[in-house]
Structures are given as C-alpha cells and as structure tokens.
Amino acid sequence: MSEIPTDLRYCGTHEWVSGVEDGVVTVGITDHAQEQLGDLVFVELPEVGTPVEAEAECAVVESVKAASDIYSPVDGEVVEVNEALADSPELINDDPYGDGWMFKIRVADETDLDNLLDADGYREVAEAE
C-alpha cells in the first residue's frame, strides 16, 4: 500500500494539502495517485495570482498513460508554483509529498480545511478503488 502521511489533509480526488502556514497551504498529489498514473511526463500549473475555487480544475498532470485534472482543495489564490516540475515532472513520482509539491494557495477561509479528509479517511478512498 502507498504512503499516506498522517500530518496532511486529503481530497477524494487524490490531492494532499499541508497544514496552514501564514495563511498558505501547499498542494500536491498523493503517492497512490502517482502510482496509478505511472511515469509523469508533463505538468501544467496555474499562474501565480490566479484565483482558485474548491473542487474546480486548476492544473493538469500527464503521465505516459493519460492526462488528469488536478482540483483545488480550497478557495483562495495561487501564490507560488513549483517551477522545477516544468523540466522534471518525475519529481512527483520520486517524492510526491516533498520535492514533487505542485502549488501554494493563500486560503480564503481556513475553516474550509475542516471539510477535507484525514489520512484514515483518504486510505478508505484509495483502497476502495
């Protein structure tokens, strides 16, 4: 079974969300998601400054197999993106919770984070697939 760190929050659509630091969260895709996708070859990230909405598409990852939409976990604004992914999308395969992070969002309403899954809740989602 894939790795699901207990200090992160999750979406049913396989994104992970870090704890809030100065109003900002970091977002990426889970180990389970990268395993299912296979080798990633292309990542399209939102531009810094883009407003994003919870559960709306805001990025795309493409693997050798297929393209997948990435959804924003919360309402807010993109404040930083992982530029290294443009040349090295495989960072997501190698280190999905570390160097493979995708973007950072300034969260509009921090209570939205309470709607996300914890590690146990996400494990159920991943295992049901």
Binding site: D39, V41, V60, E62, V64, N93
Partner: protein, 368 residues
C-alpha cells in the same frame, strides 16, 4: 476473468503491475515504464507476448491459401525460415489484422496475430481455409517472449537450447530458426535489434528468469507502446482497423500488387483506390508547443480540421511528444493539434522517429 500466460506468476514475483488487456492479465510495467523504455533503447529488455495467437497452417495448399488470404505475397519468402509482415484484409479492403507470417517448410507456415483479434481471425481464417483443405492449428501450447535492444541477441543467444547458437549467430533480420518446439526469429516491435522466441509454455519461466539473470530488464505493455510509436510502427485498432484501408494507414508498401493475377482478399476493392490522390495519409507529428499528443485529438491546418491523431504519446528517447495522425493528403509541413481546448503547433515528419537507439527526425528548431 482474464486468461493468464505461462509467465503470470513470474511477473507478479518481479513486481509487475498487472492490467487487463484483450482478455489477458498482462504486465503494464514493473515500476517505471520510462526506465524500461530506455533499457530497450540502450541495452536489452524482454516482453511477454504470449497473449498473441500463434497459428500453424499446414497442407499442400498452404502456400496458395496464404497467397489468397494475405495482402502481401508469401511467395516473397523464397526459403524456409523467412518471415514477412502483412495485412489481412476483408472484401472491402479494410484491415482485419496485421501479422507476421513465417515459412517453416514447403507445406508449413506459421502466423502470429494480435491478441485482440484472435477469435475473429481464427473464425475468418478457418472459413477461408476450408476450400483449400489447409489445417489451421492454434498453438496455445506455446509461449512467446520478445527480447529487444542493442545487447539483446548477445544476452539471449547463450540461453537458447543447444543447436541454436550456431544457427542464430549470423541470422539476418526477418529470418527464423526452428528446433524441436522452439522458434527463434530476428523480428520485433520496438525499432531495435533482437529476437522473438516461441517456446513450450513449460519452458518459459526458466527462460525468463535466465534472461533476467543475464541483465535483460522485464518490460511491460506500457514500454512496448512507447517503443513501437517511436519506431513508427502501427498499432492495430488505433492506427488502422476494418474501416480503414492499408492505403490510408501508411501500409501501402505491404501490398504486393504483382503478379497481377494473384487474387488476394480485398484486391478488387483496393485496386481502384491504389493511386487515388484523395487518399488520406498516415503521417508523423512532432509537437512543437507544450503538452502531450493523445489518440483522437483533432488536427488542423489553419482553421480547417484535416484529420485526427491515431496514436499519440510521449517519446522518452526524444523527450518530446509525438504521434501518428491520419490527415488529408494536402497537409503541409506544419499543423496544429487541439489539446484540451488549445491549438498547439506541430511539425509533420516522416516516421520512424527513432530506430536503433537514434533519433531519425530533426529535432532542431523545436521550442521546448
């Protein structure tokens, strides 16, 4: 429930991610599809292709039967131990399947057809064979392993049964050697040198393990697809099917029009279209903008839709996205492809994209 090849347990043991494919449970990859791809381009990799159907055709009329059944002419196989790529057409000139046919004796031929077409092909071939009194024998007792890459032959040869070593040493491309129930052919589907080996199922696990021990990387269907796409080889069901003719699938070269009196199935339908300037073309595309080409994306010249991607993906050797596309014959040197609502520029190139480890197309001038 999917069928399992003789290597199923070995795949699981070696960490394969198994997926359903044409009614079979097959390895998609053993960890990284891209590393498997590179192993074949740079060294040696092996594929379980036992899901493909091996058919033996035997009888005094086998040769004349195949000259009727196939669009390529088995009379091009002057000696036993030679192989030929051909399409099998329906009466309308559509492609029922593509295959390799081996001549193994004066009255003995062997065909290897796609797994996804196996049942349909067998029914069709048996029906066509009846008036010729040719025996059609499916060889589900055989497994098949493809060993491919610049070091494939050197690594595989010592592991073949005694007697093969001398025979396969200098064996030319598209030749095959047979001993007992083994067949070793210098063929493949990757654009690299190598062998395709048919052998009794019971012997397959030991060969696979011995190849792994010799440093041949196990490779799944994922790498098989990116390798064949780079090699510019068609995939049945994506790049051609029963509704498309070989003339519009980049396969005109496989039709043997001479001698004129050879009456192969599909000839009557195709002959009038042979030099039709309206025939669409199967071309290669190299994506110049960002993104990944995928099957069924629309191809444009200016504002006009001129065709569709039939096989698209990422080419690990080129680090670019490439595709085969069926387009109008008047396509120029550039076009655009609609990727997720955006038009992305692409260059029209002549496949193959990669052969024997080297890029065959000019990547210069491409913006990354």
């Amino acid at each position: 429930m999917e069928s399992k090849t003789a290597l199923y347990e070995v795949h699981k043991e070696m960490g394969a991610r198994m997926v359903p494919f044409a009614g079979w449970s097959m390895p998609l990859h053993y960890g990284s599809q891209i590393e498997e791809h590179h192993a074949v381009r740079r060294d040696a990799g092996m594929f379980d292709v036992s899901h493909m159907l091996v058919l033996d055709l035997e009888g005094g009329n086998a040769r004349s039967f195949l000259r009727h059944l196939l669009a390529n002419d088995v009379d091009r196989l002057q000696d036993s131990g030679r192989a030929l790529y051909s399409c099998m057409l329906n009466e309308q000139g559509g492609v029922m399947d593509d295959l390799i046919v081996y001549r193994l004796g004066d009255d003995w031929f062997r065909m290897v057809v796609n797994a996804g077409c196996a049942d349909k092909d067998l029914a069709w071939i048996e029906r066509q064979a009846r008036p010729f009194c040719v025996a059609v024998r499916p060889r589900r007792d055989l497994a098949m392993v493809a060993v491919q890459g610049p070091r494939a032959r050197e690594k595989a040869t010592p592991l073949l049964p005694p007697g093969f070593a001398g025979v396969v040493a200098g064996m030319p491309v598209f030749h095959a050697a047979v001993a007992a129930d083994w067949l070793v052919a210098r063929t493949g589907y990757t654009g690299e040198d190598g062998f395709e080996i048919m052998l009794p199922q019971g012997a397959a696990p030991a060969l696979w393990r011995a190849l792994a021990g010799a440093g041949v990387s196990p490779c799944g269907l994922g790498a098989r697809d990116t390798l064949r796409l780079e090699a510019g080889m068609n995939l049945y069901g994506s790049d051609m099917d029963e509704q498309t003719s070989p003339l519009e699938s980049g396969l005109g070269w496989t039709i043997a029009w001479e001698p004129k009196e050879r009456d192969f199935i599909g000839r009557k339908a195709l002959e009038p279209r042979r030099d039709d300037p309206a025939n669409r073309r199967l071309v290669g595309l190299l994506l110049e903008g960002r993104g990944v080409l995928r099957n069924h994306q629309k191809v444009f010249s200016g504002a006009a839709g001129i065709g569709e991607v039939t096989s698209g993906g990422f080419a690990p050797t080129l680090q670019r996205s490439i595709a085969l596309a069926r387009v109008r014959p008047d396509i120029g040197e550039t076009c655009s492809v609609e990727i997720r609502g955006r038009r992305v520029p692409a260059r029209v190139v002549r496949p193959p994209f990669v052969r024997r480890g080297k890029a065959c197309i000019d990547l210069e001038g491409v913006k990354s």
